[in-house]
Amino acid sequence: MNRLTFRKIVNNVMLTATGLCTLLTVSILFLILGYLVYNGGKSLDWGFFTKLPLPPGEDGGGMANAIVGSAEMVALAALIGLPIGFMGGLYLAEFSGKFLGFAIRYTADLLNGVPSIVIGIFAWALIVVPMHGFSALAGAIALAIMLIPISMRTTEQFLSTVPNSLREGALALGAPKWKVLATVIVPAAMKGILTGMILGVARVAGETAPLLFTALNNQFWPRGLRQPAASLPVMIYTHAISPYDDWHRQAWAAGLVLLAMVLVTNIAARWILSRGISVQKG
């Protein structure tokens, strides 16, 4: 009986401990959110969205150029990376044989795991060195390289959730496979694929490391793709490590804007996905 009591005590203690682990990890999110909203909310003003950064020592200014620069590079990266990833995903889900499919899938996963700073070096060697200068284009290419494996695996995942009866029905009507894909399978999976891709874009929009020595930074408005460009994550980095209080204030504001964008995208995407799946089941 004594033994049983001991086992019951161990049971309860350990169960509570795992609960505490969860509580601790989840509370970190709320601490992050709370602290950032508190500091960022204090610092955010209209000028942040409309003004250029000022030199250290002068109060005020904003990060309008970084917002534009980020939007420009992320849009270009999406334009390059998403179509490539989408087509590759089509191959993986619909055409791939055993060996090639495994090889490409595995390589995509490995590429996805490559540290983003290494992707930065790659884009530097690929674009910055031949073009003799840091440029927004190099930054966009670095982000696009990160997007390709993400969107490829996303596309494959959602295509494979399309029920086989849809494929069989369309094929039985005599349609060739490519037509079945273009008119039945892809439209059926489109909502999921798009949502997944938006998540991927949100992820690369927060990346700093691949931009540090590709797009570099810029205190002025972006002037074309061949010039260095400011971006929100790099601005957060340079402002947060600076010794100036007003720059810290700007960093908090930028952090709040970036986090809000990432979290809103994520929550919206997951909400759409959960609704989509329940509709399919019913």
């Binding site: 086992r7 161990v10 049971n11 169960l15 401990a17 795992t18 609960g19 505490l20 682990c21 969860t22 990890t25 989840v26 970190i28 999110l29 992050i32 602290y35 490539i84 087509m87 590759g88 995903g89 089509l90 191959y91 619909e94 055409f95 791939s96 390589t107 996963d109 490995l110 795991g113 490559v114 540290p115 983003s116 700073i117 290494v118 992707i119 930065g120 070096i121 790659f122 060697a125 690929l126 840091f134 390289i145 390709i148 060739p176 496979k177 490519w178 037509k179 998540l199 700093t208 490391a209 540090l212 020595f213 994550p233 980095y237 947060a240 490590i241 810290h248 970036l258 986090l259 990432v262």
Partner: protein, 320 residues
């Protein structure tokens, strides 16, 4: 009669390229871009690090001196910092992460479990520069004012806990890394635990095991490969993590025994020095560091993926 028909059909097929074949080849070409990118990446890093490789050879890996002014480069301080911070981070995050995964997969009611999983996945989506910024303004002062003095008081006789307490350094970086690797370990371990068939649990409970004994002696061992895979994935993330570490490790290319001392990681030195590096040898040495980081994370990721694949295969085979 049938033979001519088939041969005619196959003859026709060999001449006319059907839409399906075109689609197959086009999508294959796009799919192959990931292989192309990976090959190009290795080739580029290999080429760009030529100057450093030919000057220092393999000894680059254990050279302890990093002096751009004297053109003398050794990788050991960065390798040491990278490995140290990542392992310390795992020591902190594995018990917490696996514990949380056990709670979410085994104990929590489904509603709470999915809500918490959602929140943990949001944690994974927070950009690393934001973790870094928060760490500068919260973790660094906390470590400086409370944690490091307490550790020094308790374990001050060990060389790891001696020396000046700056707030920035190996230990702080490890704590930040631990926070950043939680989400991966929790999410993937939880999935591995959920793959365990129900009858395993029911059998153990029917034999009179308590809930905890069922979990710890039956469910966790059954899912061990997946959990191990999640730890490897977390390790690969930790090794390659750049921004948050750059902001809190203190950036000192001299190796210190003390965990309170500032250090450097491969990713951090790249982030700090690459844009301003001049000369073939200096950039070459930095690129070679990048190559080392790439190869290490590649091997660890490859192992982790194989482990995760192995567990899902095992799970589906048992279910069938």
């Amino acid at each position: 009669m049938a033979a001519p028909a088939t041969s005619y059909a196959s003859f026709r097929r060999s001449l006319i390229v059907t839409g399906d074949e075109v689609a197959h080849l086009v999508t294959l070409a796009f799919g192959a871009t990931v292989v192309l990118i990976t090959v190009l990446l290795v080739w580029n890093l290999w080429g760009a690090s030529a100057a450093s490789r030919s000057k220092f050879g393999i000894g680059f890996l254990w050279g302890t001196n990093w002096d751009p002014n004297a053109n003398d480069f050794g990788a050991l301080p960065f390798i040491y910092g990278t490995v140290m911070t990542s392992l310390m981070a795992l020591v902190l995050s594995v018990p917490l992460g696996v514990g949380a995964a056990i709670f979410l997969a085994e104990m929590a009611p489904p509603g709470l479990s999915s809500a918490c999983t959602f929140l943990v996945e949001l944690l994974a989506a927070v950009p690393s520069v934001i973790y870094g910024m928060l760490a500068i303004f919260t973790v660094v002062p906390l470590m400086h004012d409370y944690v490091e003095p307490a550790l020094k008081g308790a374990f001050g006789y060990l060389p790891q806990f001696q020396g000046p307490m700056l707030g920035v350094g190996y230990l702080t970086a490890a704590v930040v890394l631990a926070i950043m690797t939680f989400p991966y370990i929790i999410a993937i371990s939880r999935e591995a635990l959920l793959e365990v068939p129900r009858d395993q649990r029911e059998a153990a409970l029917a034999l009179g095991a308590t809930r905890w004994e069922t979990t710890f002696k039956v469910v966790v061992p059954y899912a061990r490969l997946g959990i191990l895979g999640s730890i490897f994935l977390g390790l690969a993330r930790a090794l390659g993590e750049t921004m948050a570490i750059t902001m809190v490790i203190g950036n000192d290319s001299i190796m210190h025994a003390s965990w309170f001392a500032p250090g450097y990681t491969i990713a951090a030195v790249l982030a700090n020095e690459f844009a301003e590096a001049t000369g073939k040898l200096y950039t070459g040495a930095l690129v070679e560091l990048g190559l080392v980081l790439f190869l290490v994370t590649m091997v660890i990721n490859a192992l982790a993926r194989l482990l995760v694949i192995a567990t899902t295969r095992k799970g589906s085979a048992k279910a069938a």
